[in-house]
Symmetry: C2
Subunit: 554 residues, 2 copies
């Protein structure tokens, strides 16, 4: 059988320059599936290549454009299902209409919070591989290493123009920023909404923040203790060739809710501008839009509730729905609909810390952002490609956000630019997505980390929550996710010994694979270095950070 | 204004014999809404009457047939939403197709368990009104009083033929049975699935039951302690004129899983037979089908899992979906689709006691069967009437299961047969349903009882869980149901004093109204009396019951 497969693979490689390219190094479970399905996969790959080749032929020889929208903290069931809109008391008509034209990836797994999910989508790797599993709020002096090869770099290799607008949150050091990680152009916030919606004066007035302004100066020996949203760098803009400048703040200016609104509107406007600019050029493009809303934490100076739900995030979700409606309309107006893959999804579950003010709380799965339960890592996820991906369809096989890296690269004919010197967690899900065939997935499990610790394993419909260190594995709880979406009724006796043993072995193989491909640390550096126009207060905040960093080395 | 309304009402009553009929006595909250919307309601009623009159004109002068399917223990989100089918790992294609032709009543509230929900649907009244709030499993010697006027009796008054097949569970005394409560023909179980799926030998073998067979006869002084499913009466059949006979068991026979399957298949077959028989007659008809499945508790002698979910109830839900598909197809084949109102809904939330074996657990709302939280009383509910009710629509106003009594009566032109000498909790929701207009509902609240105690009040999107007796009302917890479907994040401080005060007043008005319309007890009697062919073991079980009943009077 092996010879047949090798022969087939060789003949494919010879006839099809767009084919998968060199073999990627994946995690152990991939090879167990491959050992069982290799022959089928060769056939499927040939069919995928044929479909992609036919598309390119129709498209003047070009692969599709890619527009990727990643929405903050939006759990499963909030978009695309009118019945659940009614349950929640708000509406997302534009996204629902989009979902009618798209495929829902029902079992899309993300990481439990912003940074790690975005790292996984950008690098195709679990964030633990390069120490990026943590989500920081304040100045931190670390970020995504420059030797990571992002999706933007892969696509650029294949001739794409690349642009990024909105959130970023992969580090506050220069090498981690989008314009230094493969994007020709980028305009993005450096930190996240902790800074931009909680640490400022409006939020203090609305009782969102505690301890920032309400302190006794007499007893305050440490002036470096409290964060100052206005001193932290906000939004930067630049190109791969430089320069990089902060664009939202003048020296001495205070950040506030109005500036948050302006920034978000500017991201939206810039996204549409970039779309038009990229569409006018010859090359295929990759446009990434990571909106900061729906997250918000104040009503300062704005209108009251905009929906029967009335939650702060929900109201902003309705606004985002309008904005995405405008984006979809612009894609249509520019004649891009048929040759553009559009991905819309959440980055992790709801931020339960802000329930019920946000208007969101976990609905179908247990837990939310930060949790490693299903509610932390299950999100709404849609992919549209008219004529190539079945409209109004769904697939229920397990997909991890890192699989978008490999799969979109495949769609772009760019797989050959994915590095083969490191472990890539993302697998190629082209066959299951293009043929709307759940059986053609190349993954049936995910290992769910919190920061740098594996916390749960999902395989098939079963989920094992790993016991804490020192706790007996016999106490580990199994859940049947089809039967119990809230992980409330453990089925240990039903799943029995084979399940426990086998899950321990899955973890063992995952860890053993790290011996060949060890985890590495993130990049460390001086925050904001390389920005041309650092404000004096920002420089002081960096100085404060450096004093804190140095304190452990005294 | 009052004069204008009276004049309008008088003119309507004069011109339209099918109109609402005499004024019903409702609960207090109804009159608060009426005081604000009376003028609009008069207009809406005129529009409803016009729509119904137009329908009858098209339909040879006849009102529509009514087919009502009430499914046991099926929570919200299990039917009609393919995305959530995928979440659960099973499929209900026929019900989903039906839902595409129907309206979803998103906020359909039932009672928390089988008997009270069925009482409310049959009588239009809260079960507490006649002491029917409890759900019994074993022989109990009480039931729905004969002086309750059921929906069947109301429709019969307006000239309908009436038939009931399946579950009943409104009492084990003769006056409570369907053939004595307005149904021309009935074939129904007397008790419920506790008897028919748990108390028998197969269930004992599969470890579903504990304590029924595994006891030490030496220490067993009380031979009357344990229930015997085979001795209890199972299924009866008869007509309004009698006789009534038990049809599923011969003397000495043992109940088992195979007989449960036979019984369910027979209910399905009989439903289709009755549909054909009723369709062939001249009169409009009311056919009620209350399947016993999806509930089941053994695999004895049957095939293994039928779905990726594989739960016992879920597998039977797929079977029921096929059966309902056959029912819908037969309605089409008989040419009844356009002149038949079809209602399909659950009777209460999932039976969490059998999670995860059942394959169901609460998905979107907190809690299940027996709980007064939303998950106990929120169900999937669809109503189809082609050309009259908007296909593939939803309304999100609050509807209580008792409203079906009044609303279906209105559709049938039978409102005049609803008694006016008692409080009717069901309100007429015709306008909101026929015009797919959420603003035209006539209810914005429900009071949720457990047996005979009010436990929660839902008004608008707010929910107050009433404090336990002796507990400070200040501790009562409010929930915003749009923001928090799992009642996890109380919003006391947000809703504040007005909410608490006003909810206490709602309860006060509800209780004050009972002074004019006091609750009455259920009917008591000798179990099974009036059945022609009582088996000897059944007679002994009744004797045992009488000994127990008499014990408190010694």
């Amino acid at each position: 059988m092996k010879t047949v497969i090798s022969a087939l693979a060789a003949s494919l490689a010879a006839t099809c320059v767009w084919a998968q390219g060199p073999e990627l190094a994946h995690d152990a479970e991939y090879y167990i599936l491959k050992a069982q399905h290799a022959e089928q996969w060769v056939q499927d790959d040939a069919a995928v290549d044929a479909a992609l080749a036919a598309f390119r032929e129709r498209n003047g020889g070009q692969p599709p454009n890619i527009v990727s929208v990643l929405i903050d903290d939006i759990g499963f069931g909030e978009m695309g299902i009118p019945e659940l809109n009614a349950v929640r008391g708000y509406e997302t008509p534009n996204i629902n209409a989009f979902s009618d034209e798209a495929m829902r990836m029902v079992r899309m797994y993300t990481e439990p919070s912003c940074t790690p999910t975005r790292v996984a989508q950008m690098t195709g790797r679990l964030p633990v591989r390069m120490g990026m599993g943590d989500t920081t709020v304040d100045i931190a002096g670390f970020g995504l290493p420059e030797d990571e090869v992002t999706l933007a770099e892969v696509l650029k290799g294949a001739g794409y123009s690349t642009s990024h607008v909105g959130k970023w949150h992969l580090g506050d050091i220069a090498e981690s920023w989008a314009m230094n990680q493969g994007f020709d152009y980028a305009q993005h916030a450096i930190h996240q909404q902790g800074q931009l919606t909680i640490f400022h004066d409006d939020a203090i007035r609305e009782q969102v923040s505690v301890g920032i302004a309400d302190f006794d100066p007499i007893y305050t020996l440490d002036d470096l203790f409290r964060p100052d949203a206005s001193a932290m760098m906000t939004v930067i803009e630049g190109t791969a060739e430089g320069p990089i400048r902060e664009i939202r703040m003048e020296a001495g200016e205070r950040w506030n809710a109005a500036k948050y609104d302006e920034m978000n509107q500017a991201f939206q406007d810039k996204t549409l501008d970039e779309l038009k600019r990229l569409a006018a050029a010859e090359k295929p493009f990759f446009l990434q839009y990571w909106p900061m809303i729906p997250l918000d934490n104040t009503r300062a100076g704005r209108d009251g509730p905009q929906s029967p739900n009335g939650g702060l995030y929900v109201d902003k979700m309705q606004l985002l729905d309008q904005w995405l409606g405008d984006l979809f309309a612009e894609i249509d107006a520019l004649g891009l609909a048929d040759n553009t893959v559009v991905v819309v999804m959440g980055d992790n579950g709801h931020f339960t810390k802000y329930a019920p003010q946000s208007g969101f709380s976990p609905m179908i799965y247990k837990g939310g952002k930060g949790d490693t339960s299903e509610g932390g890592v299950r999100v709404d996820a849609f992919i549209r490609w008219p004529g190539m991906i079945e409209a109004d369809s769904l697939i229920n096989n397990i997909i991890h956000v890192s699989d978008l890296y490999t799969t979109l690269s495949r769609f772009a004919g760019a797989t050959g630019f994915i590095p083969t010197d490191r472990l890539v967690d993302g697998v190629d899900q082209s066959a299951s997505i293009l043929f709307a065939d759940e059986g053609k997935g190349r993954r049936d499990s995910v290992i769910i980390y919190s920061v740098d610790k594996p916390k749960a394993i999902v395989k098939d419909k079963l989920r094992l929550n790993l016991p804490a260190p020192g706790e007996s594995p016999i106490l580990a709880e199994f859940y049947d996710l089809y039967r119990d979406t809230h992980e409330k009724y453990p089925v240990s006796t039903e799943v029995g010994a084979w399940g426990g043993q086998e899950f321990v072995r899955i973890l063992g193989r995952h860890l053993a694979r790290k011996e060949k491909y060890p985890d590495t640390p993130p990049a460390h550096g001086v925050p904001y270095e390389g920005v041309e126009n650092i404000r004096p207060e920002t420089a002081r905040a960096v100085e404060a950070f450096q004093i804190k960093r140095a304190s452990v080395q005294q």
